[in-house]
Amino acid sequence: MPLAFVAKKVSGGGHKSVNHDIPLIPFIDFLLCIVLFLLASFSASGELPIDKSVRLPSADNVEDMTQAPMIAVAGQMILVDGIPAGTTRPVKEANRMQKLDELFNILKGRREVFKQINPGKDFHGIAVLQVDREVEAVVVKSVFQTAALAGYPNVSFMVKNRGGGKKRG
């Protein structure tokens, strides 16, 4: 049934028409901009894969994150970019600082691969440690020492930025 009264009302019915065009084109442009921005910052694998069980400490005087191998200490597991690289059990049992052989071999292998792929290019030896706030110093120092021995002397600890201090580039 044709709604004559609606048609009459909408077309004005002797008054000014109340028809309005919704400006869809600027709206679509806006949506496209958002989509492009989000797609550009999207990472299918997750930009910083942080294990749910790892509770990071926070700090004020921090630096920006950098692209480097990520050594995570989650529970007793040690992971390099998500790949298992041994456990912390021998260090805890001995309660003294020691080299972690599996971690050492993986890091050394990565360093050699970098040198083969990028001949003549400087190797900066940066590694980022992602360690739970409750982990004991003996484990942290063992991982630190192992990384240094494997050719990664420039070790950084991943922290949450409290934002109080000046962030250094």
Partner: protein, 187 residues
């Protein structure tokens, strides 16, 4: 609604005007925006640096007197009541300062040692070896911990060591860097 109007369709020919279905397109875009917003990683992660590259032993080919040794700040955090700041030149202790171990709780589980930050900043201002803005080297700090110290405690102390900052001039540009470079003691 958007459409393509070619003005054709005259002379008995079929009109080539087309309506573009914008509503499904907008629905699709909104779904895409929602998905991307939900899966976006909104983290504010940073790093705090430590360096295993420490100055090596003296050069045996040169006289020891010729080789000026830098002062090194040793931060002893094994005491339960206090921190100890020890300025050493080689193995010679030049100065020892005690700092009360006063932990200040921040949000949640976070904490800091503002007294330690302040004392280290003061000490570097008077005793630090590399303070000139043309000097690209940093002073060395060595952190002494026991095996059972929690990582959060280590980070709080390293954060305090990085509190003193200075300007350096690189060509025409100025940059703020930390006054210290931190490493761990092996003892």
């Amino acid at each position: 609604m958007a459409g393509i109007d070619t003005g054709g369709g005259h002379g008995g020919k079929r009109s080539v005007n087309q309506e573009i279905p914008l509503i499904p397109f907008i629905d699709f875009l909104l779904c895409l925006v929602s998905f991307l917003l939900m899966t976006a990683v909104w983290t504010q992660m940073s790093r705090i640096n430590a360096d295993a590259r420490v100055p090596g032993p003296p050069d045996p080919d040169k006289e020891l007197e010729e080789q000026k040794k830098d002062l090194t700040l040793h931060v002893e955090m094994r005491g339960e009541e206090k921190f100890q700041l020890v300025w050493k030149e080689g193995n010679t202790v030049r100065d020892t300062i005690d700092v009360p171990r006063k932990q200040v709780r921040l949000n949640g589980d976070d904490f800091s040692y503002p007294d330690l930050s302040q004392k280290i900043t003061e000490q570097w201002g008077t005793t630090g070896s590399h303070r000139a803005d043309s000097d690209l080297k940093r002073d060395q700090a060595v952190l002494h911990t026991d095996n059972t110290t929690k990582f959060e405690d280590i980070i709080a102390v390293i954060d305090s060591i990085y509190a003193p900052q200075r300007l350096i001039k690189l060509g025409g540009a100025e940059e703020t860097i930390s006054a210290f470079n931190v490493t761990f003691a092996v003892d």
